[in-house]
Symmetry: C2
Subunit: 429 residues, 2 copies
Amino acid sequence: METLSTPRRTDLKRTLKLKTLQEALQTLLAQVKIRPLAEMVPVEEAVGRVLAEDVVSPLNIPRYTMTFMDGYALRSEDTAQAVPEKPVALRVVGEVFPADFPISTKVSSHQAVYVACGGPVPEGADAVVKVEEVTPDDGCIKVSRPVRVGENIASAGEEVKEGSVILRKGQILRPQDMALLMGVRKESVRVWRKPKLALISVGDELVEAGKADPTKTVNNYASLIAGLALEAGAEPLKAELVPDDAVLIEAKLKEAISKAEIVATIGGCSVGVKDLVPDAVNALGSPGVIVHGVAVKPGHVAGAGVVDGKPVIMLPGHVVSATMAFYLFIAPLINWHLGLGSRGLLPTVKATLNREVKSKTGSLFLRVSIKNGGDGFVAEPVHGGSNVLATLVKANGFAFLPPMETLREGDELEITLFSKHEYAHLGLQ
Amino acid sequence: METLSTPRRTDLKRTLKLKTLQEALQTLLAQVKIRPLAEMVPVEEAVGRVLAEDVVSPLNIPRYTMTFMDGYALRSEDTAQAVPEKPVALRVVGEVFPADFPISTKVSSHQAVYVACGGPVPEGADAVVKVEEVTPDDGCIKVSRPVRVGENIASAGEEVKEGSVILRKGQILRPQDMALLMGVRKESVRVWRKPKLALISVGDELVEAGKADPTKTVNNYASLIAGLALEAGAEPLKAELVPDDAVLIEAKLKEAISKAEIVATIGGCSVGVKDLVPDAVNALGSPGVIVHGVAVKPGHVAGAGVVDGKPVIMLPGHVVSATMAFYLFIAPLINWHLGLGSRGLLPTVKATLNREVKSKTGSLFLRVSIKNGGDGFVAEPVHGGSNVLATLVKANGFAFLPPMETLREGDELEITLFSKHEYAHLGLQ
């Protein structure tokens, strides 16, 4: 008989009270008492972040009336009669480059000033003719057509007006948004803070990757959940490992709750004799565990509690179940911290099922492998045990099917991709 | 008259020889002499990278025959006659937890062993009955139905066979692939090296962001190109700034070519008197500039050269033109370094045009703003000057239209999104 080294639960008949997916999430969100926070970040580091405020431009773009061509600034009226047979000669009285701003150069009647692309347009000029269109001739240029008022000129504020809103609260910042912020001389910008996610893997059998004990199991599920959380917009903290020991679990949980906005355990929340996590959550304070059991397959032993107003998610130890519970509880919490709707940062695609799928009395966490079928995406259900990581490697995304639902071959459904990497991945097929 | 402080070009009638998009890219690729390189990276840092080799599993998963439920390991034949009215009693002779592997525990006739989820199945047992399904009774358990052979048991190697290929060369690694690699005890993995991109912005008028000289222009276009390159899979080096000075441009280019796999200049490649970049590229060695002028709008002054076998891309100084040339030249070079096809890491979507667009004698770099129209994506063309960054902020992606093409309202076209951030961005609409 194997030795019994750790304390164990005595109520071997623990019963799960199954909640629907919606009940489970709503019960949790109703009890979470912390609020999303914003922070200032340097503009250069803001790509991928979500704006927590409207951004108003403090200046005009262009800052001054400028030309966007290499050419000659002139008075358009001087060229009104110009034709190829009888070009107009204008005397070149100066040259202006972008770095010369501000300038005192002026253009009078029948004069021209060379202006380099991006340079300010001298007072008196109202148009710029391109350098390729004129013939230089002894300190003059010859213009052989009428140049329109405003030709090749951009007015100050034409692109961005001082005081106007250039980016809206709730937007995800892209490289071009960052460039625009830099262009209006913003050095930092207010974005929603990424929620910190503390992960605690529970189990005597676990060992950290790299600690090559062949009799132990590598703690790779924490890396998976951390990787998914990072893609969803959270900041995962270094994952912690704890054995099946009530005291140690409680201590790790307490520390995690003090450091992170979202805490999640992996394993130790089922009905076995060493499933000590729910008791530890309850021991830490009120209300403790508020959801234990969800009417979904796989992953029905998932649960959630609240301690110090912060959510503590109990992810099952099976990898597919843990992933289900990540998308059920943690992804919405991340979205909420980022001021985003339910969709969040995860891409979705519409796809056509290539075979029938059915849910039973509970919801179904349907894994699918998506392929580009030429005429849109085709979703093939991926079946397999709740503990088979290979099914998640084969799949690209998921959908939650309501209870007692039958979807037939050819039905369209919306698939949430596991992460944005899936999109490039499935493009390679 | 503004002063003339720097050397300038004398051939003011520089003529561009326009190549088609395809000619321009092919001419460049034919002369590039460096080769993509692979590198080993720690598995934990491999998400988003592209595999440069097939990965073979060095071990079985599960490593041993295990149960994936908390329950009792037994001999199925002992339960063949079990019915609720007449349950079979089996003596519990031990208990096994995952951390106990390897075990010597055995199950004989009419015995059972408690096995925790993930634990090894003792010799002699061929099935596991769930803990919820039995009634404990004085050192025994009562089983009230026949348990099938193999029930709740996963055989060694059932998920992953030792020696089998688990991930293929060319795959983009996702969080679940990383977890699988960790699970088979891989600590590092061979991926394609991200090509380094050196960016040199050219122009007397430019100043680095944060150096708040209001008479100067912030070098934000380099940040835009660096941001796009990062998303496309490159490693952008810190952008350099150089004034319109042939000697300094040449020196910066030389340094950049020694450090990076791809070099790009921004600005200084048009036909103005201070457009000194092409001469600098030619001065550095053979073949020098091999493309100057592309039949595309905007961005026809773009060019490319090769020095020391490495590509030197001349991006125009106008931001939309520079972005066009990034997608024309640099994105394909990045894809090639990453062992990817033309699509690379950039997402594409099919969208329906909401108005007519026409190209003229050259190709058109068509910017579009994509909206989710309920029944698929709708693409609205975004027009505006080649130097208007705001048009890129309004847009999500682009398509290259061939010359003399007319697309009508309702036509479908494939749009390449500027970066993967666009996908989440447009999901928020």
